[in-house]
C-alpha cells in the first residue's frame, strides 16, 4: 500500500502527463490541468510536484530542443515510467474498489 503513495495533485499531474503523451512539458501540463480541472496552477507547485514524482521514480524526463520562444531554454519533457503506471493503476483500482463497495442506499440517500 504504502509504496504507491500519490497525493491528489500528484495523481492529477501523472494523469495529465499521460494525456499529453509526448508533449508533456511544464507549460503544456499546466495549461492542460487548468483547462480540464478549471483551477489555476502555479509553476512552482507544478514543478515541485514533477520533481517529487521524478525522484520517486514515477516519471522520467528528457530534454527537448531549445526554441526562440523560450529564449533558448530547452523544454523538459516527462514520461510515465512502468513503475509510475503501476502507481496510478493502483490508485485507480483502490478508488474503484471503494466505489463499488459503497452501498447503493447510501448514495441514494445523499442524492435524495
Amino acid at each position: 500500500m504504502k509504496q504507491y503513495q500519490l497525493g491528489e495533485f500528484e495523481e492529477v499531474v501523472m494523469l495529465t502527463v499521460g494525456v499529453l503523451y509526448d508533449k508533456a512539458y511544464g507549460v503544456a501540463i499546466k495549461k492542460e490541468i487548468e483547462s480540464r480541472l478549471r483551477r489555476s496552477v502555479s509553476v512552482g507547485a507544478l514543478q515541485s510536484a514533477l520533481a517529487r514524482l521524478e525522484q520517486k521514480g514515477y516519471l522520467k524526463s528528457y530534454e527537448g530542443e531549445a526554441s526562440e520562444e523560450r529564449a533558448g531554454r530547452p523544454k523538459k519533457f516527462f514520461q510515465i515510467t512502468a513503475y509510475g503506471r503501476k502507481a496510478i493503476e493502483f490508485t485507480r483500482k483502490t478508488r474503484e474498489e471503494l466505489w463499488s463497495d459503497i452501498p447503493k442506499v447510501a448514495l441514494k440517500l445523499i442524492m435524495g
Binding site: V27, V43, G44, Q47, S48, A51, E69, P74, K75
Partner: protein, 883 residues
C-alpha cells in the same frame, strides 16, 4: 522579444536548484511572453514575480550544502590526516613552525595579561566613572606643572559650594606630618613594628571608594576623632584571630593619643593607585594649630564624586573661578603680592577621572608610583611583532616547501578538487599547527608566568575562571591559524595541475622575493629591539654610575631613630666610637627617594614681593652631613661647631645660586617665609630626585630632623658593621627593631621601574630574536636542501668549504644589510623618544648601531652557517647519486 525583469530572474537563478534551472526558467519565460501578448507587460511582470515567489519550494530550491558535496566530514577528516602526516614527515620544519608560534603565543599571552592588569586599575569602585581627582595646574611660561595637593579647607569649599558634587574626600600621607610611616604597637604591648603604608584620610573618602568592610560600620568607621581602620592583613598582624574593633593602637610612641580601631576592610586589590593599609582619621585632627582652616599650605590630595549627568569640564571651570575668587585672591592680597593677576591667569583646576590615574598621570606630581600608558602601547606592539614574526616563519616555510606538496595539489585537482577545497585543506592544516602551537604556547606561558611576575613585579594569574578566557584562546588560535595560513593556502592552491604533474614547477622559487621581504621585516624588528635593549642598558648603567654630586658608596643609614628622643645625640657619639664608622650625621633628608622632601619658596631679602620666588627644597641637616655624604663645597665653607652664628646660616646648591641670579652668593640673605638666612657656602649640585628630573634648588640649614641617622663606614665587612651598630642601638632602644639601608641600594631602587621595563623589554626582545632566528635557520636548511645538487657538483669540481659557506650565506647577508639600513632610523627615533624622559641621559651614538648591526649579522651567520657547513661537509655522492 520581451524579457522578464532581470532582477527577479537573477533572484530566481540564485536560489533555484541548478539541475532544474534551465527547464523551469524556460517555462517561466514562455508563460511570460504569452502573458505579455495577452495581458500587457505590466501585468505579465507582476505575474512573473508571483510565479518566481511561488517557486520557492522544497525540491526546487538549491540545497544548502552546494551541489558537489553531500557530506564534508570525510574530506575534513582527510585534510587533518594528511596535515598530520606531513607534519610528522618533516619533523624539523614542523618543530620550527610550531616552536616559533608557541614562543610568540606565550609572549602574547604574558603581555596581554600584563596589559589587562595595567588597564584594570581603579575600575573596581562603584560608580568609578563619577569619581575624579582634583588637579591644580600652574602655567610657568608655557611649562605646565600639575599637582594634586590642595589646602585643607578646599574639600569643605567644594562640598558646600557646588551642588554638582556629591562627596569630597581627602588623604594626607605627607611624611613630614608623621603620616606615611610610623612605629606602631598595640596599646597593651611594648614591641613596636614599622609600618610604611599609613595615611590620614577623611571618612568621606571611604564613602567615595567604598572599600569592603569586614568589621565596623562603613559609614562611621572613621567618623570619631582618633579612630583608625586597618586592612585585613594588618588586623591579622596585630590581632591574630581576634575582632580588633574598639581596641587601641599607639603610633610613634604617642601614648597620649592612642587610635581606636573603627573598622577592618579587605586588603586593597593590587590594582588600586592608593597603596595604603592603615587609615587614620582626619576627623578632629590638626597637624598644627589652625591648620585645617588655613589656605596657606597644600598637602591634601582631594577626590570628588560628582552627581550623575554633571559635565566635569564645566564643573572644573566653575571651581577654578569660584575658588580663586573667593579664597586665593584674598589670601594673596593678605600676603601683599603684586603679581596676583599673573598668578590667577596661570592657574586652573582640572578633574582627572579616577580610572585614568594609573596610566595617565605623566607629569602629575602625586608621589605615587604609576604605570605608563606608553609602556602599554609599547608592549602591545612588541607582542604583535613577535606574533607577526612567528607568522612570517610559518608563511615562509609553507611556501618555500611548496614543491613538496605540489604533486599532491596537482593530483587533487585532477581528481576533482576545486580551488576552494584546496584552500580549505591548507587552512585546516594551518589550524592544526596553530592549535598545537597554542597548546604549547599556553603551557610555556604557565611555566614562565612566575618568572614574569618577578621581573614585572606583578602578581598575575591565568584567568581560567573568567568566562571569556578559554573562548578567547580558542578564537585567537583560529584567527592566528587563518591569518598565517591564508597566503600559503592561496599560493599552494593556485598550482596548475598539468605543469605540476609534468614536473615543471621550479622548486618554490616563485615567491622568493616575497620571502626575502619577510625576512627583512623580521630582522628589521629584531635589530630595532636589539638597539632598544642596548640603549636601555646603557642608560641604566649611566644612571647607576653617574657622578651625583655626593658619594653613595659605603653609606649606611638607620630609619626610625626619632624614637630615641633626647638620647639621639648620645647615640650619635656612641656610634662615632665604633672603629669602622668614619662619621655620623642626623638628618631626615637624604638624596634618595623615600626620605623627606618638602616644597618651599625662596627669595632674596627685600625682593620678596617684586621677584617671582624660587621654589625648592629646604633641608635640615647637622654639622657632619656634608662630610658623611661626601658632598662638595665649591665656594665658602661648611657649618662650623665653633661659630654660634651658624644657626641662621645656610648652604645653598648651585642651582639655587643660578635661579636667584646671585653673582656673589656668599653673604647673600635669603628669605623663606618669615625667616632670613645668610649664605655661608655653595654646594655642588647633587641629584636627589630621579634622573628623569632636573636638579631643583636646595637650601641646607642646621636643624633637628631626627628620623634618620646616616653613617659613612670604612669597613668592607657590612654584616659586621650592621651587627655592631645594632648592638649600640639595642642599648638605647631595646623594644625597637632597627631598620638599616644602604644609600647605594636605595638609590638603585629609585630606578626599579626603569630596570623592570628594561628587563621585560629585553626578555621579549630575546623572544623575538629567537623566533626570527628559528625562521632563518629553517629557511637556510631549506635552501641547502634545494641546492644540494649544485653544492655537490661544486664540491666535486674542487670548491672549498669556504666557497660553499660563502655561497650560501651571501644571499641572506644582503637581506640582513637591508634590515640594518631600515632599522637604524626607526630605532633612532623610538629610542630618542624614550630617552627624552630623562633630564640626564646618555647620548645616542653610532657605535650602538654598529654593534647591534654586527650582532645581528653574527647571529644570522651562526644560524645559517650551521646548515652551510653541514652542506659543505657532506659527501657529494649523496647529493648526486639519485640521478
Amino acid at each position: 522579444m520581451p524579457h522578464p525583469p532581470q532582477i527577479i530572474l537573477r533572484f530566481f537563478r540564485w536560489y533555484v536548484h541548478p539541475k532544474l534551472r534551465d527547464s523551469i526558467e524556460g517555462d517561466l519565460i514562455e508563460l511570460y511572453r504569452e502573458r505579455v501578448r495577452e495581458k500587457g507587460k505590466r501585468k505579465a511582470d507582476i505575474l512573473f514575480a508571483a510565479d518566481v515567489l511561488l517557486c520557492l519550494r522544497r525540491g526546487i530550491i538549491r540545497p544548502a550544502e552546494g551541489h558537489q558535496q553531500i557530506n564534508t566530514y570525510g574530506m575534513l577528516k582527510n585534510y587533518f590526516t594528511i596535515g598530520w602526516r606531513s607534519l610528522l614527515k618533516q619533523r624539523m620544519y614542523s618543530a620550527i613552525k610550531i616552536g616559533g608560534f608557541a614562543l610568540g603565543i606565550a609572549a602574547c599571552i604574558l603581555i596581554s595579561l600584563f596589559i589587562k592588569d595595567e588597564l584594570s586599575y581603579d575600575k573596581q569602585y562603584p560608580n568609578a566613572n563619577r569619581i575624579y581627582r582634583v588637579i591644580g595646574v600652574g602655567n610657568h611660561n608655557g611649562q605646565l606643572s600639575k599637582g594634586v595637593h590642595f589646602q585643607p579647607p578646599m574639600a569643605k569649599a567644594l562640598r558646600e559650594e557646588y551642588i554638582e558634587i556629591e562627596k569630597v574626600g581627602r588623604y594626607n600621607n605627607v611624611e613630614l606630618f608623621g603620616a606615611a610611616n610610623a612605629e606602631v604597637r598595640r596599646a597593651d604591648q611594648m614591641e613596636n613594628l614599622y609600618e610604611d603604608h599609613i595615611t590620614f584620610i577623611d571618612q568621606e573618602l571611604f564613602d567615595i571608594f567604598q572599600p569592603k568592610f569586614i568589621y565596623g560600620n562603613p559609614a562611621k568607621a572613621l567618623a570619631e576623632p582618633l579612630s583608625v581602620v586597618l586592612t585585613r592583613s594588618k588586623a591579622e598582624k596585630y590581632y591574630p584571630g581576634e575582632n580588633p574593633l574598639g581596641k587601641s593602637l599607639i603610633f610613634n610612641d604617642d601614648k597620649a593619643r592612642p587610635f581606636t580601631i573603627g573598622g577592618v576592610i579587605e586588603d586593597l586589590p593590587p590594582n588600586t593607585h592608593l597603596p595604603f593599609d592603615i587609615f587614620l582619621t582626619l576627623s578632629g585632627w590638626e597637624f598644627w594649630k589652625g591648620e585645617q582652616t588655613s589656605w596657606c599650605c597644600s598637602n591634601y590630595p582631594t577626590y570628588i564624586k560628582i552627581k550623575e549627568g554633571t559635565d566635569p569640564h564645566e564643573l572644573a571651570k566653575k571651581i577654578t573661578k569660584g575658588v580663586i575668587d573667593k579664597y586665593i585672591i584674598p589670601m594673596l592680597k593678605e600676603e601683599g603680592r603684586s603679581d596676583i593677576d599673573e598668578i590667577v591667569k596661570n592657574s586652573w583646576i582640572e578633574l582627572q577621572p579616577v580610572t585614568d590615574i594609573h596610566l595617565k598621570s605623566e607629569g602629575i606630581w602625586d608621589g605615587l608610583s604609576h604605570g605608563d600608558i606608553r609602556f602599554v602601547w609599547l608592549f602591545s606592539a612588541v607582542a604583535a611583532f613577535i606574533l607577526i614574526i612567528a607568522s612570517i616563519n610559518f608563511i615562509n616555510l609553507s611556501t618555500a616547501r611548496s614543491a613538496n606538496r605540489a604533486k599532491e595539489v596537482g593530483l587533487r585537482k585532477v581528481v576533482g578538487s576545486v580551488r576552494s577545497n584546496l584552500v580549505g585543506q591548507f587552512l585546516a592544516e594551518s589550524l592544526l599547527y596553530s592549535v598545537l602551537s597554542f597548546v604549547f604556547g599556553l603551557v610555556l606561558a604557565i611555566l614562565l608566568l612566575p618568572y614574569f611576575n618577578i621581573v614585572a613585579s606583578k602578581s598575575l594569574e591565568m584567568p581560567w575562571l573568567d568566562w571569556w578566557f578559554v573562548p578567547a584562546l580558542v578564537a585567537a588560535s583560529l584567527f592566528v591559524g587563518v591569518l598565517a595560513g591564508i597566503y600559503p593556502a592561496l599560493y599552494l592552491s593556485s598550482f596548475r595541475p598539468i605543469q605540476v604533474l609534468k614536473g615543471n614547477l621550479s622548486m618554490g622559487s616563485r615567491s622568493s622575493s616575497l620571502r626575502g621581504g619577510l625576512v627583512v621585516f623580521q630582522f628589521t624588528i629584531s635589530i630595532v629591539l636589539i638597539v632598544g635593549t642596548f640603549i636601555i642598558y646603557r642608560q641604566m648603567n649611566f644612571i647607576l654610575n653617574k657622578k651625583l654630586g655626593y658619594d653613595k658608596q659605603q653609606v649606611l643609614y638607620m630609619e626610625g631613630t626619632h624614637m630615641l628622643g633626647n638620647q639621639i645625640q648620645t647615640f650619635k657619639e656612641e656610634l662615632k666610637k665604633l672603629p669602622m664608622v668614619k662619621s655620623v650625621s642626623i638628618s631626615d633628608y637624604l638624596p634618595v627617594r623615600g626620605t623627606k622632601r618638602n616644597g618651599n619658596q625662596f627669595s632674596l631679602e627685600g625682593r620678596g614681593k617684586i621677584d617671582k620666588p624660587v621654589s625648592g627644597q629646604f633641608w635640615r641637616i647637622d654639622h657632619d652631613y656634608i662630610k658623611t655624604l661626601g658632598m662638595h663645597i665649591t665656594d665658602g665653607r661648611d657649618f662650623d661647631r665653633d661659630m654660634a652664628s651658624d644657626s641662621s646660616a645656610a648652604l645653598i646648591n648651585q642651582e639655587m645660586v643660578k635661579q636667584l641670579g646671585l653673582k656673589d652668593p656668599l653673604g647673600a640673605r635669603i628669605v623663606n617665609y618669615s625667616q632670613t638666612w645668610t649664605v655661608i657656602g655653595v654646594v655642588e649640585n647633587f641629584n636627589f630626585e630621579s634622573l628623569k628630573h632636573n636638579i631643583d634648588p636646595v637650601m641646607l640649614t642646621l636643624g633637628n630632623s631626627p628620623t634618620i641617622v646616616s653613617m659613612k663606614i670604612s669597613s668592607e665587612d657590612l654584616q659586621g658593621t650592621i651587627a655592631s651598630v645594632t648592638e649600640v642601638w639595642k642599648k638605647f632602644a631595646p623594644n625597637q627593631p632597627a631598620r638599616f639601608a644602604f644609600l647605594d641600594e636605595s638609590y638603585a631602587r629609585m630606578y626599579d621601574d626603569v630596570k623592570r621595563m628594561g628587563k621585560i623589554f629585553t626578555s621579549f626582545a630575546v623572544f623575538a630574536i629567537i623566533v626570527a632566528c628559528l625562521g632563518l635557520f629553517a629557511l637556510s636548511a631549506f635552501m641547502v636542501e634545494q641546492r644540494s645538487k649544485e653544492i655537490s657538483i661544486r664540491l666535486v669540481l674542487g670548491a672549498s668549504m669556504n666557497n660553499i659557506v660563502r655561497l650560501l650565506t651571501q644571499n641572506f647577508m644582503a637581506l640582513i644589510m637591508i634590515s640594518i639600513v631600515l632599522a637604524t632610523p626607526i630605532a633612532w627615533y623610538v629610542m630618542q623618544k624614550w630617552l627624552e624622559d630623562f633630564a640626564f641621559r646618555v647620548e645616542m651614538s653610532w657605535e650602538i648601531f654598529l654593534v647591534a648591526g654586527l650582532l645581528s649579522i653574527l647571529i644570522a651567520i651562526v644560524t645559517i652557517s650551521f646548515q652551510a657547513i653541514r652542506a659543505a661537509l657532506t659527501n657529494p655522492v649523496n647529493g648526486l647519486r639519485s640521478e
